[in-house]
Amino acid sequence: MIRLVAGRLATGAALLVLLSLLVFVGVDLLPGDAANARLGASATPARLAETRQRLGLDRPVLVRYADWAGGLLRGDLGTSVSGTPVSAILGGRVANSALLAGLTTILLVPISLVVGMWAGLRPGSRRDRGVAVASLLFVAAPEFVTAGLLVLVFAIGLGVLPAVSLIPPGAGPLDRPAALVLPVLALLLLHASYAVRMIRATIAATVRAPHVEFARLNGEPPRDVVRHAVLPAVLPVALQVWLLTAAALVGGTVLVERVFGYPGIGEVLVTAVRTGDLPVAQALVMVLGAGVVVALLAADVGVRLSTPTLRTAEQPAPVAFR
């Protein structure tokens, strides 16, 4: 297991190195650069050249890459086009987004398991079909539409929850829990629906499996059948689904954050891309990429630990994405 984790860590690190190269050199090929973005409409060729020289943009791309990557290793995320250090911009925002993703994941685990079991234990029943259709709909509707409807109902209509996430300076979202309810709910509707679909399908397949049939015919009480025959088969799949959902939530909160004005990375990301603030976008790619690497590593290890046949095997765990 230690060898596995070490190997996966090494792979993850290699991926991040490759990613950094791709992101830096790739972004360098985009039209415009930091000098353009800084000067905007006030750019003249002479001013552009001068600014490029001052910012060191006239050096070869690989030299600049080495500079930037070296900074990353020292924890220096670079400087935004606005002159502010990127780390100051990202600051608490990465943590806020992680909080949103984490809360959603924590709530998603019991909800998807209970709803998935409730529906999947009676495949084909009316409640099973109801859950199947509802989960399909929530997966199919863009979450910003769902979030907008939640605001209309709970904030504007009923007036019970805030429509926007106004977090005072110095405080965190946890200091205003009411502000977290609707964003988390919007994310849950999308991601829990996906998890429910996967878990429901696995349970439905499991209850038809011969060993479950056998236990039931042997007269084991339904609760014991579930505990001894169904859950062990379902949990590895469920665990994998949950961890992959967690990985998808890294950077997957952007749209919902925007609807609620939540102080996470979403707004930084969109602003950076729209204003051509490449240093911020590049740093975000690296930070989020590292987050996903960690989540996938956890998924890999978790699946192995929960699947006896894989615990000692060398082949990679089956990784399913949405």
């Binding site: 991926l15 791709l22 199919a140 891309v273 790619v285 989020l288 990429g289 089956p318």
Partner: protein
């Protein structure tokens, strides 16, 4: 399968496809030209009312299915195709040579760099460089390639060492023949299922890009949803119609893709 989901989905998809393909031909008005004032309620002349600039919503809906389908399908097919090539390559060489897994190292690992970038971020980055539908197609394709490659590799790995494949190799059949006749039929299920998943993801990317203000303009359904948001209180139909259509499209394709997954499990088992 015990409930008629698959059949309903096929029916819905068929109707949607007819609307999408025939729509541009039967649209009553030019979808770009204003026919009235903004946010007019439905009238016999404009059956679904007018949009934010006074254009006929029905005509825009009828006109907007094809670009939506085209962009999503092109992206999904491109991503799935590239992923299939990479996945089959890895399965074939690594699976048949037994020990060394250099194709996985050389092809799939680099693709993983794309997989660890959150899809929304990848989309935003790509759309900065390539705007319009070309950018969306590229974004959809790139977000899909690594996942498609993994799925196809997993599906093909157990197949490449089967007896009939060995027999074909022994007979001296060329690679095209082996892939076309021996491999693809066996991985067709996962391939179709993967394509369906990619397609649904593509629809999502198109609408999300519009919401973030980086999508192309035009009449595709995703753009219509985004354009409807500011005026939703004035004209709920502007939002409701494209949302329902996009949801129906996504749901029917998802149901059919799920069905393809179930069948392919049966084949591979």
């Amino acid at each position: 399968m015990r409930w008629p989901g698959t059949r309903v989905a096929s029916g819905v998809l068929a109707v949607l496809l007819v609307v999408i393909v025939v729509g541009p031909l039967v649209a009553p008005y030019d979808p770009a030209a204003p026919v009235g004032l903004p946010y007019e309620p439905p009238t016999p002349q404009a059956l679904l009312g007018t949009d934010a600039l006074g254009r006929d919503l029905l005509s825009r809906i009828l006109d907007g299915g094809l670009p939506m389908l085209g962009t999503a399908l092109a992206g999904a097919v491109a991503g799935s195709a590239l992923g299939t090539v990479a996945g089959l390559l890895a399965a074939w060489w690594d699976g048949r040579s037994g020990r060394s897994r250099w194709v996985e190292g050389a092809v799939l690992r680099p693709l993983d760099t794309l997989a660890i970038v959150p899809p929304m971020l990848l989309v935003l980055l790509i759309l900065t460089a390539f705007t319009g539908h070309a950018g969306l197609v590229l974004a959809v394709a790139l977000t899909g390639v690594p996942l498609s490659a993994r799925v196809l590799r997993a599906a093909a790995a157990p197949v490449v060492t089967r007896a009939h494949v060995e027999a074909a190799v022994a007979r001296g059949e060329g690679p095209a023949w082996i892939v076309g006749r021996e491999l693809l039929p066996l991985v067709a299920g996962p391939l179709v299922a993967d394509l369906g998943i990619r397609f649904v993801a593509a629809i999502y990317v198109v609408t999300a890009a519009g919401f973030l203000g980086v999508g192309p303009s035009g009449t595709d359904w995703g753009t219509l949803i985004v354009e409807a948001l500011p005026g939703v209180e004035l004209a709920p139909l502007l939002l409701a119609v494209p949302v329902v259509l996009v949801a129906l499209l996504a749901v029917s394709v998802t149901v059919l893709a799920d069905d393809a997954v179930r069948r392919s499990r049966a084949v591979l088992a």
